[in-house]
Symmetry: none
Amino acid sequence: LRGKINTHASTLARRLASIGLTIEWEQTLGDELQPLADAISRASESFDVVIVTGGLGPTFDDLSREAAARATGRKLVLSEALLRRLVKKFRNAGFPMPPANRRQAWLVEGARPIENLVGTAPGQWYEQGNKVLILLPGPPSELNPMLEKFVLPMLAKKFPARPSAEAHLHFVGVPESVVDQRVRPLILRAQKISGAEFRFTILAHLGLVDFDTFVSHARLPRAKQALASLVREIAKRMGKRMYGMNEGYPLEKVVAEHFKSKKTTLSLAESCTGGLLSAQLTAIPGSSKFFLGGVVSYSNDVKAGALGVPKTLLAKHGAVSPEVARSMAENIRRLTRSTWGLSLTGIAGPAGGTPKKPVGLVYLGLSGARGSRAIEFRFSGSRDTIRQRAVIASLDLLRRL
Amino acid sequence: LRGKINTHASTLARRLASIGLTIEWEQTLGDELQPLADAISRASESFDVVIVTGGLGPTFDDLSREAAARATGRKLVLSEALLRRLVKKFRNAGFPMPPANRRQAWLVEGARPIENLVGTAPGQWYEQGNKVLILLPGPPSELNPMLEKFVLPMLAKKFPARPSAEAHLHFVGVPESVVDQRVRPLILRAQKISGAEFRFTILAHLGLVDFDTFVSHARLPRAKQALASLVREIAKRMGKRMYGMNEGYPLEKVVAEHFKSKKTTLSLAESCTGGLLSAQLTAIPGSSKFFLGGVVSYSNDVKAGALGVPKTLLAKHGAVSPEVARSMAENIRRLTRSTWGLSLTGIAGPAGGTPKKPVGLVYLGLSGARGSRAIEFRFSGSRDTIRQRAVIASLDLLRRL
């Protein structure tokens, strides 16, 4: 309500769909007790499961505990076990626990706490008859693990869906609308042939498209069969644009698996992306098995100095050129003795563009045992978008090696 | 509700705030007529302005027009003028108008159409007494211009806001609850003294705390005065923990301004963060003015080779040690001839920890004209969290130079 983007609705919708549950209603409201309590009451009347996110912190405007108690007509009770765990968390961090944090040990009477392995706010799971009220903390880094480890398994047990199967397909370099256009007829046909029920979601982000589909049928083998044949058809229709079929399997992980399985190594020379690709690859646990490191050659001095790009090359062609991209890739490969060297140089903007070399012009350089080459891209969008598109193009290139 | 991110709520909240209006309630629901009509009715009872986004297209599941008519008890009437404009739009695009698009010429009786310069769906502005119901199309590229050109000016005229002022304060290295504890009494006192009305929110993320406050008063100078004196008191109370007072002014921008104003330069040697800090700094336009580049020394070979950390040092103390942190910082500074060299080395996990060097142990090395030093941190959380906390600690260190 104050301008920040709500990612919870999207996360919850996608993850709940994986156990056959659909979100019918989402609402966001301010930090005022009575409206919060009213919203929880009203939602509990109409729906089987109500999930409240946020408002479990220690401060005055964290009111979800109180609102849940008021909506359910229960008291809040102090959990001594939770309190001990809180005090210990603070002691481990080297602080005495501020008195305000005591509030985080209050539970709706009869609720089960959900452990928070990242932050201080425990979640709560409260059942009343066939209905469930769930309180989760606001920070995604705290909410997501609690969702995966506790909430989804518990909900799946309490609300067993019809036997179902799911597939998560990932595409790169193709617009969302084109995926939709090509995939929808295949789904409608599969539905008719198999008699199974299909649901799907499409999510696009900077040239990556995630397609999730869930298939249910009275008999599990039929659901799995229907799904498998649909996936085969989609894969055939989309070709190389489809880069993976696992939930939570980002493009960089596909690249990482590729390098690890081939026992090849990679090093990077990044200019316009300033370390973004390195950061993305090293976000993967175990990336040290194939990623040796690199140089962020943001200034021309670093390109020439630490990286060893000939000054004459820089002077003749400019830093943003196929020649310099190739030299950067060759030099980082030689310097780190990696199997492959990849470089990025371009103009991310907003300033620095010229008619001949406009903002969005990016060269990728790739150097391997058999030589080197450069590829030209022209991206549009903001500085951020251009940098991220350059990273995705690099990952796509590495994937296709 | 199907996994896509809702950006409308964020856009509308920010743009409405600019004319002094606050969103009190946001909800998302599916494409079913009666629930949509009920939601519009209920919202119209409680609020002065109701904005409906989406559902103005030509297809069967575009139901906002019908829902608005049902909720307001008015008929839908065909606007001949709108129909002519629609037919013309299609003709200009070289298509005959599909019959389905005729629906887009239907207006709630008494509503004023809002011209759509981008797409085919006109918006609608419907007044009933002192209340306004606004229908806008879903695609942001259509919604945004209509919001700026028509909706915001019309709303500002109809609901002139009380004069108000706002402040956005940012803190680092202090828990959310401590900010609350210290700031709340100051606000309560300021409220009493000035007679102005204060609203505020606190939001924490990975050790950063954002504090937003809005102050209104019948007279603008009084609101501004009250706010200025509050901000002065908070700044005094929080000291160096407060790093900025601008909306959308992240920590890395504070660091960038610091370096640019001092005309000093920076280079980085990143190990456990793998380029994340470089990526964050180079996200800022114009960062090339102070950031020269760096080395991502992910493997020990790169630490020794490209970066020149003595192999004996690595063997004796290990890569994650104050000695290696200092050497990394000194070497990157010498290599790039920067004013300051900063290094990060640590164990981000999930594997690689030992009892003596557990996951979360991170050393920052800092090298300048007067020598070098290393600082030890022990972070908790996931691999991602540890890396991000290390980046924030580095930015905080650079800010304090």
